[in-house]
Symmetry: D2
Subunit: 336 residues, 4 copies
């Protein structure tokens, strides 16, 4: 039985608490939050759990084997470091860390202390996303050509980070999971509207050597909620619409076949279009976060790397950091 | 009565022919196309009209007062120049010209010869777009914050230009009409898939001094057809979805109000959200191209500049040219 | 403080328990269910509450002032009767009772015992439905012409009632709330598919003297989920789509104006069409069931009839009973 | 070469004219319409065609082998009869005739005169509908359970017939094509709004001995356009949405499997749900009316019955006539 302590009972913490409380092999033993009202709420929902106001005290508890960190971004590094150094396993909310240097440091000391270090890239555990990965693995899409993602809504403006770190982190973690090739550069443009200090509309482009192109539109000031990803392949193309209650993944047997004919006098490019059926596969509808909790507990029990390990966290933070650098450099392409 | 000669009876030409044939004050007198099958088609649809294979001969005809040019892009400049120099009024398909230099040259000689020179920015005459302009003019959107446009589908790959010149030209002409501020720079990224010589997936960002940001996604390789524009304002925001058969324009009484409070120890940013009604106004459903034809004929009759004059054509071509430069410079921001 | 006892902790019971637990002026004191697993679940969610297996014992408890009945339909009458006779206030799940006779009997004895008797017509407390009622009250729709409702999905087949009693009861309760005129007759058609004993596809038509017509399509065997109501008025028409996450109510300024002209030789009917704007008003997004709980508690405290009183329950049960009679009589129109 | 004469150049006539003009093996030789403006329009569109004002004169022409009748309903019978008696082949617009007696009479005399008699049930030639028929033929839907059709919009009120004869005729002709079983009875309800003489909102139910149920909602006074058909089968279910520009036919691998288990003390019904993939097949996108024209010409050339022959017209008119009888009899079920 893994005893789990949770730090942070704000927006996402209650979901983590609920899922760990219902995960076989885990016991939610303690929750820490600096605010009394949140501790009260935690105590009401989870009677019998220790509620404390000091995160370090929670880490030190004997009945805490593993620490889940759901606090503001700038505290991820010190809290995770403290927990790892005390030999605790750690699950960190996304973004994994506030910088590439922090992410690398955490990965190193977790390796040294031989504890499990995992990042909560929740969408990697989403049934629709895993279904898409399976389609790619079976070669149904052919060669991947581009990924285009839109995640916009009228959102809660964050005071401590821009919209890329808040929203694009989801889509970058999905890209990191789906695309085996490694990106070589990032560029980003954005704007800060309304006198707030952080970009609230932004576009991120991720470049690959192969010509594959990934693009992300994130926006806290949109009147409608859009969660749509296009993934173009040479054989098939798909649309992943997370707002569709029934058919989230639609696979289109559509594409362009390009050939070249060397004629008498010149090469001719032959283009033919395929427009075939559309197919919406079913997928696992279980709550992704329950699978996150399960993976964390299993990785600890089996002494193995979790699916979304520190390296995944590092890769995504590297993209985010490069995006921020590009924002400050007029959208210049930043090599990774 | 204005006698109109049309050059080019390929994809768009038949629509121009039909609309000029039905426009009061105009008479469609001649059609030129190099291909015999198209001349035959033109003759069947428009009996009594002269069908010739030589564009210059059409320009020279005494029964042609005004020339409509619907030919491949690289012929716009020589044909328009020839027509203007013979004192004919000219309507050119979009994109207006293949370069800024060509566009400027045409504008200059049309001024010298005192003929009307117009570009067919069709969407500027679209009822939905004109409705949006009216909303802006009445101040209903407040200060404009951003414009985001998506125009993607499985499209006919063009052999003589990239997807920006083929698709984004529509949205840039809409932006040119809706936004009074003048852009200061353009950046663009794209990729060329399938060994074809031109970008078939691309993103264009247009920068303004005010912080207003415009972004365009164009794609010939998308499995679904999307024609969606978001326009964010400080008072209201709207979605223009050209694929929606009934409510193309939706105005949302949504937004974020940002205030600043100077408290005892520090300034606090106060953010409040408005989530009000949605309103889908009706608009003029007439075919935009009929209004294009009407405007051309009226501008000639009244000896005035048309709404989409050479200056509008030049502005949009400048954006397209800058986008191409940015594509070749790794997405670097190109000043206008 | 009203002490509330809940009978039935199956599908809907947990929602009632949660809402009464959070309602000011109420205290959830006891839950009864015959199944041990459900009592355990209730005890875990609501520590400190008496969980008993005997409904009558719950009714008799001194710390139960009001009884909420969420049990199978055929037990509504005996349980409600027992509770009323012990002087307890009663809230009954929909359908109110299994027959018109039962409904009338309950209404009578509640009147005699001077206790509050309420039916949980949840949709009457739904923000969208109340918004529609407000539109009607302000005359925005004009004279009401027809109501057409579709409620279909791949649903849990019920073993103790047909699809009309399971699904149409929602829409009939909405109609009862929105339409002041009283229906005069009901007809129904349906079919029983797959060897089950109850109709799983059915159509109900409700007739009014005025010519107003209401029609209901309910279906447990549909591949898609549809929750759509059209309400036609002489001034405006609306669509209420409960599956739309953002704009559930859409009001169309559309209609037909019919006039009559007496010409020289004959009367002519003049028909003109209005096609104006569409408007999607905002509405109260609070959970309807929380308002149900609030209304029950307030009606008890203020010793007044609740909004959805026994008379409302009786009216809807009368429609359901007539529908069943019509089903058995080849769809013959049954007078009310 | 079949010489075709068209009677009636109002709403639908121009479409028929255009399609016959482009059909191999046919020559559009003459058009008759009582109104001069329509004859002028026909002459402009179809130069070289005889335009006459007298339908009987057209029928008598030597250069008319086949007559297409697109006139008001009450003239179908006399015009078709006159043409058949002169030995001409006849294509009649839907509804085939104003009564079952008329339809039978036409069928008989066409048989006697050995001419081809066809009804323009256009939707039977629609690619989506034929695709559905192919799915049924291949057994993909299993046993058919129900058909539910909605065809509503803000429509042109007809002065000479009710909404059933105007709109439901389409859906009844689709049902007649898709469902091999023969209906045994029809019931209908409707209402007449606005003082017009004919029902403008109506519901038709068609009964079969097998328990299969078909239901049709037609409405001229709806604020939105809906063209949706559900077809439930024991193996799969489908939705045919004619307003969807891309995926009109969606096949759901969903259903309910019902079994019976005889246990110790009682029979138990076992219900299990299947929720599998959704599949949207492609289909022939050609204009249905071009296939109607082709079928008429081919049936004449091959001296065979057309797909939508007089018997099909008769079957649909029988349903319409029974629906009208039911409307007048308070929705009573009318045997066929």
């Amino acid at each position: 039985m893994i005893n789990v302590g949770l730090i942070g009972y704000g927006y996402w913490g209650p979901n983590l608490a609920r899922n760990f409380a219902e995960t076989d092999g885990a016991r939610l033993s303690a929750i820490a939050d600096g605010r009394a009202d949140r501790r009260d709420a935690a105590a009401r929902r989870h009677p019998g759990i220790a509620a404390c106001d000091d995160a370090l005290a929670l880490i030190d508890r004997a009945d805490v084997d593993a620490v889940v960190i759901a606090t503001p971004l700038d505290t991820h590094f010190p809290l995770a470091k403290a927990a790892i150094e005390r030999g605790k396993h750690v699950l960190v909310e996304k973004p994994f860390a506030a910088s590439k240097a922090e992410a690398e440091s955490l990965a190193t000391i977790a390796e040294q202390r031989d504890v499990r270090l995992m990042v909560d890239h929740t969408f990697v555990y989403n049934g629709a996303v895993r279904r898409i990965r399976a389609l790619i693995d079976r070669g149904e899409l052919g060669e991947l050509l581009y990924l285009d993602s839109v995640r916009v809504n009228l959102g809660l403006l964050q005071h401590d980070s821009n919209v890329i770190w808040d929203l694009a982190v989801h889509d970058l973690s999905i890209m990191d999971y789906l695309i085996d090739a490694r990106p070589v550069a990032v560029s980003a443009d954005g704007t800060t509207i309304g006198g707030l200090g952080h970009e609230n509309v932004a576009y991120v482009t991720v470049h690959f050597d192969s010509g594959f192109l990934a693009h992300f539109h994130v926006n806290w000031l949109a009147p409608v909620k859009i969660r749509q990803m296009l993934l173009g392949g040479s054989q098939r193309m798909l649309v992943y619409d997370d707002t569709d209650p029934s058919e989230k993944v639609r696979v289109y047997d559509k594409g362009v076949d390009v050939g070249v004919k060397d004629g008498e006098t010149r090469r001719q490019i032959l283009v033919s279009y395929r427009t075939g059926d559309m197919h919406a596969p079913t997928f696992d509808r279980r709550e992704a976060l329950s699978l996150v909790a399960h993976e964390f507990v299993e990785a600890i029990a089996q002494r193995r790397k979790p699916l979304t390990d520190a390296a995944a966290g590092l890769r995504v933070v590297s993209l985010l950091e490069a995006a921020n650098q590009s924002l400050k450099a007029q959208g210049r392409r930043i090599s990774l």
